[in-house]
Amino acid sequence: MGDCKMEKVKEKEVAAAPKKKKEVLSGADILIRALLAEDVEYVFGYPGGVVIPIFDKLYSAPRPKVVLTRHEQGAQHMADGYARSSGKVGVCLVTSGPGATNLVTGIATSFMDSVPVVCLTGQVATAVIGNDAFQEVDITGITRPITKHNYLVRDTADLARTIKEAFYIAGTGRPGPVLVDLPKDVLISQVEFDYPDKVDIPGYKPTGEGHIQQIKKVAEVMAAARRPVFYVGGGCITANAAGELTDLARTAKIPVTTTLLGLGAFPENDPLSLGMLGMHGTWYANMAVNECDLLIAVGARFDDRVTGKLDDFAPKAEVIHLDVDPASISKNIKVDYPVVGDCRKILQRLSPLAREADTADWLKLIGHWKQTHPLKYQKSDRIKPQYVCEAIRKVCGEKAIITTDVGQHQMWAALHCGFFGPRTMITSGGLGTMGYGFPAALGAALANPDKKVVAVVGDGGLQMNMQEFATAVGQRLNVIVALFNNGFLGMVRQWQELFFGKRYSHTCLEYTNPDFVKLVEAFGAVGLRVDRHDEVVPVLEKAMSIKNLPVMIDFHIDRHENVFPMIPPGQMATDIIE
């Protein structure tokens, strides 16, 4: 009671007091205040003409910290790796024109894999937009199909609200990159700073927690199934629903297969785990999907690398699909029981309704498949890439975050590292962007100072963003770069071997590759070379012991090794080559 009165008195006082005057700030200052309000720790950036006013303010601001990259593509991939490994929104800041266009591949990478990133680009002054001014490019036009949303801010008075909306849109619903284009004069003009605490976008209401009647129906269908399978995608991890999914699968006794982006959503040492499915998935995961009577998709989008020939995908199954994006449902495959909403909230409401399914026979059959068709590779004195993957996990530990580039090594990592927790596998799935793995590892390392980060890369892809070794050394990030050096653009070479009569057109890098050890040493990083099988573990151990510097290990792997299993493109699960 007393307190109540006090409050009232206070309220009156406040009402009586003159309104606090708002500060008048420049656009650049407002931007930095907004980033602080959004709790941004790092900005991955690269300066240039029109964004000097922002960098000037960042020079004296204790936060956000700026990570100066060596290429804008590196900045976007780092912000992406930061976001995927932490769940927070990543931020990058670049100049107009070429700075902005250098982001494009990275933005598309984030877009395809639903990664929340806010990309801030400078723009020429509003008065000269459209005049082909120096370093002018229509970046909102260019990025329209590869962003969740984008803005061109035309008035400093709109800046604070726009930044607030950008973070909100990037991080909620199905996340994605949002680009904000900032003309030079907008950064310089001054207005009263007022950061809104709420957003109100009439056309954007991210969907809720799933329809309860539909969830009840799903629980019934799950309990009645005899051969159910969970098919889990990156959306499950994005929604922070891995724990809920794991509990539900264990209670209901339903086996789980994940996509490339779903790796880590379910611990692979659990007997219910089937590993990855799809083109390079395990035999038993693909066979389980082929034979199942109920497919329960959680935050997955029936991508063609997963389904192969659509008509033959899960041919005997009814399909349940939980997803935050209504447009993902029934896009490629007809869904029988859709539930739209946040996967975590849906699973939380589904769990108490779920019962143990009668899957004993099904699990027995799957156990038999696992024994008769295990993942395998030939042991050899030469370094087998699969063995390196196993060794990385053994030496670096279950919690280590693994990022990959794109190619054979990516698939070996996906199949042979083993993933036991969410956000431990960071890889470009949808776009398949070579050059992603190394800078993404730097972003992940900054977001997770307490965790080991290992970038598994190929000799082709590493050369696409090598320059970021300078960034890694500058930030004293002790990531391990495990280079799977086969002197080939291996994945393309594999296709040429299997489908193009061994005509290895322009895929041999052997004679023109640099000496990677010398190269990283020139950057100030540590370079180690491994040629023998028995050196693999000791070298990894040595790399683990090095502090405050990036270490690159040049593994000279068996050059002609291929990735298996493989379902040839456009074919069905039963056409799998082991």
Partner: protein, 174 residues
Amino acid sequence: MRHTISLLVENKFGVYSRIAGLFSGKGFNMDSICVGETDNPDYSRMTIVTTGDDMVIEQIIKQLRKIIDVIKVTDLTHEDHVNREMALIKLNCTSTTRNSIVQIVDIFRAKIVDISPKTLTVEVTGSDKKVQAIVNMLQPFGIREIARTGTVALKREYSGKSPDWSSGEKRAFV
């Protein structure tokens, strides 16, 4: 099947290209698109006519809803709605053909809005079928130029009793 989709969108810079870009980027058909401000200048109404099977139309509607600047999407196809298109048709006309053309224009309740010794310009309003019908009828005279607005459409409202077919509405169904 042909669908008429009505959108309420934010009246902002770039919204039109977001929507047009969605159609071209995803390979959806767009037969026509028509935009104009509503009574509230913050919003515009767009009418899109598109063709596709059920799965494609479902995708189009879902994808449109995903665009942040799109506030509301309604498929009018299976609802009772009014749709209109306007066309200006400039065609060859000599003293010998003038009477026949005027007759056709009358039948369609169209208007002649410009005349020169060798041409006539006809203005016609109606459903896209009606517009197509008059175009077909005028074709033999030699159409020089044609400008069509594309369809605009709104859902019909009932007062609770039988529909109120005003004479104007009936005329438009010719």
